[in-house]
Assembly symmetry: D5
Homo-oligomer: 129 residues x 10
């Protein structure tokens, strides 16, 4: 029995900073869900016009996901730090490093020293200059 | 997250033409839902960076909705015909025309005379010349 | 365990303009979902009476989707602009144009020249003359 | 949009007669849900253009619900019999008749005498002559 | 992750007339969903005791659907009018009549002449005399 | 109506005995949900006709719940035993008896001795003699 | 896109008597859903330890369902009356009795004579002497 | 009750060991959801009989959660190890220990030395001797 | 028709102690759902990099589940008591002990003697000496 | 818990590469949903032990989101490219650059020159020198 909520997007009040961050995380989820939706349809059809449109739109959803990810890094600096550490941790985990080695990444503020060029992608601070 | 389905986007088989049209309609629904989501967040925050990103992304979702709408017009010519008749019907309905007057729009092939080649919607751009 | 919400459509308050636009987008989603529902049933039965009724009703849902789309163009002029650009972009995308070519459509106000009075979409019929 | 299913309307196989009846009942549910959706929006806005369109569309959904109800009466004759008995039962229930009196309606074949040819509901119009 | 709402049926306030009509439409949906549920189980079992109980209960759900339908006709006279026109439209649609012929049904007030007092549906029984 | 599944009630195969019992439990859930739905509407309206119909229908849903409960007792004898023990356990729990006293009810077959006429309600087999 | 509601079980206010009854009906639904869940898992595994635990837990859920059913009989005497009539109706329905015979059960106030004190259900055993 | 699935608990095939573990985790979720449901109702009523029953049932759901947790420890030894380490980690986290100190718990098999009797709770195998 | 709630995680007010406990139970459910999600993906792929990341993340979710379980034991001492009794009950149930033997575990207050200081769970290891 | 599906995480078959990417996107959604869940609970309680545990767990979920994001960059190089362009686009959008300026980022293949070997994302740090 369908029960469409006629009023699902009414604004109750202005968001706090923390609630805004949660809203943007939700938006990333929405973009990823859309990418999955279009990717699945691409896999399931041979219609060339449809595939061209799906590819175009899906690629812009990827851009959106990346932009919202940047915004989260601004709103949630702890996430930005994890983003900076992630490629090193990823390499360690996928090459069989021990749990301690993985956990040691980014501890003690030494990240910049250990891995100087890594934070570049998110040198959000300099952007603010 | 009631019981996340780990395998919700597996492709069961290639789509028929009719199933492809249904998939694209679903995609329009997803784009409209995203527009509503971002519009609601825009209404609920004063954070200027967030608003700039939300506006940029939301505008591209509008483009996506319009592109998928074009694709549906290709896949479902009956929808394209209704699109052609809609602005006239809209004007009649909102100015208090009778039910008969509204229903008469597009009947009798008169649209075909004005707009002979099919699918017309695809040449809407040329109309603007 | 079924949990029907007995009060899912109570009106909390009058809608703002932006909330009204979101409500109409939701209605388009509802119409598209209905079209998909009936189209799927049409594919799945050979009962001629049922097919006749399904076709009749489905066609009117297409009309509804087109009418709500017109209404959105009135409530959200940015969507109307994307609708105007969409057929040209569609053609470019499906014929392999570069990303820049696609993005260039509608930039520079050229559409405004061709189609000066606003809301243009409402006079789309006249464009066909 | 918890995990949009990309393939929610694929046709698994042709429907049996009983499954077709269940599908049409689902369609009535969808029409009633749409009526509720539009009625709620009508209550929540003063925008006259929006109200005109909502009224037009909502009225056609009422027609659709009535048409699908006719179709169910064809597919499920037991439902048609209950439809014939309903107005009398309704009057008895709302005027305080006993449970036995209500249950007695339609028993004993008396309806068949009054309304011999089947399916009767389909000739309801002629009754109005 | 199951999230049962412990308080899904709390009454927020008395319903308006329009909200009551929406509630009754929801109830019809619930009855149709139940009929579909029991009909599906009937199709799927050979246990004779279970079938007897399912048939008994399902038949009373049909009665409930018919009674709520009567109530909607009282609360929403526009629906009652569509109910009166539906059998004629159904016949036209399923015998290949044109769109104009179908739309002409019920126009011109002819039904009002045949059936002057309102709400007509309540005297449907007397029509059968 | 998040993505109406057009084919939600197709019968995949005949049910096993255990699956039939699960289906009937689901049906009890559906009946209880309906009772809650109608009871909530009764609390929320003063419309006397609506209340009369809601009371009539709700009472028959209670009957249905009771009938399906009987059927479960037939299909699941362990449930029937718990039904026989429940009134005694209920009395003990609500009068502050210890956990051991509650758990002792029905153990060792002593129930029949302590409470010989209690199982009557469910001596369904004898009823058939 | 998962959307877990972080606050799904906050208490809005004390329940009315009718709302308490609805809450307990919901709890019965939850117990029946759990029984179905565990029963399905029992059918699907041969792991003996798992089966022993599942059987133990499932049996206590049956007890819970029976206890909540007793509580509903206290809170909703009309349900208790239907429970008393159900075994007789069940027998009639499953042995082919007419609709009138089934409906006649419990009519005429005879139960009230046999079972004067309220709530009867709590002394259901003695009633059966 | 959006479109009750009549066949939601059919057994598709025997579970693998890993699937059985996933099923038991789902069962823990169901038990925790039930505890939350009953706890919320306890907070929301002053009816003493209802509170006594709710307390009794809720306490047994706690027992079920604990039993299923034991079963998971058997099926998923890595979870059992984390259970053994959890009280020490909990103490460290809540007393402000560094991330390294927390992560060091349980590494290198030193846990047994530091906290020899801790694993007792889950030396389920020895219990069986 | 997707209906994403844009504001699903707004904080309505500070939680009571009982509501906090319910929130933490919900969090355990979320962790178990995530473990199931990742475990299912592990079963379904041979991509070694993906498997390494999935194993790493899944193992930390197990730690989270264990930590939240500790927190529940602090917030809900009755759950802690059931945790202490569970391994003994598990052994009894899986070795065929009678219902009375199982229920006798933990009765008689002997745990309180062994384990006087609170919160016991945090010193659970020492209790076992 | 609308009808708990007992078998929601059964593995139907090995995933294709594209399906694996979709699964990992779903996992990011799950991690973001968990972060939102815990962040909301942190906002809603003053219990210091609970806050310490929530902070610890939430921070590891951020790490998981970052790790899965790395994995997506490996599985979907087009996403990696958008990640590389995102900080520049973010700066342009939030400082009022024109649509063309934003779209020009990353066009012209210059990225490919700077970053020839694939997958680039894994050496993202060096790219920025």
């Amino acid at each position: 029995m369908p029960q469409t909520n006629p009023f699902h997007s009414l604004v109750p009040r202005k968001l706090t900073d923390s609630e805004l961050a949660r809203s943007i995380r939700l938006n990333i989820e929405a973009e990823l869900d859309a990418i999955n939706l279009y990717a699945a349809h691409l896999d399931a059809t041979d219609n060339e016009e449809a595939k061209a449109i799906l590819r175009h739109v899906m690629d812009e959803e990827r851009e959106h996901a990346a932009l919202f990810w940047q915004l989260i890094a601004r709103l949630d600096p702890a996430q930005a730090q994890h983003d900076r550490d992630a490629s090193q941790k990823y390499r360690l985990i996928t090459t069989g490093a021990s749990h301690e080695e993985v956990e040691a990444v980014g501890e003690g503020g030494s990240v910049a020293e250990v891995d100087p060029e890594l934070p570049k992608r998110l040198t959000v601070g300099s952007l603010r200059k």
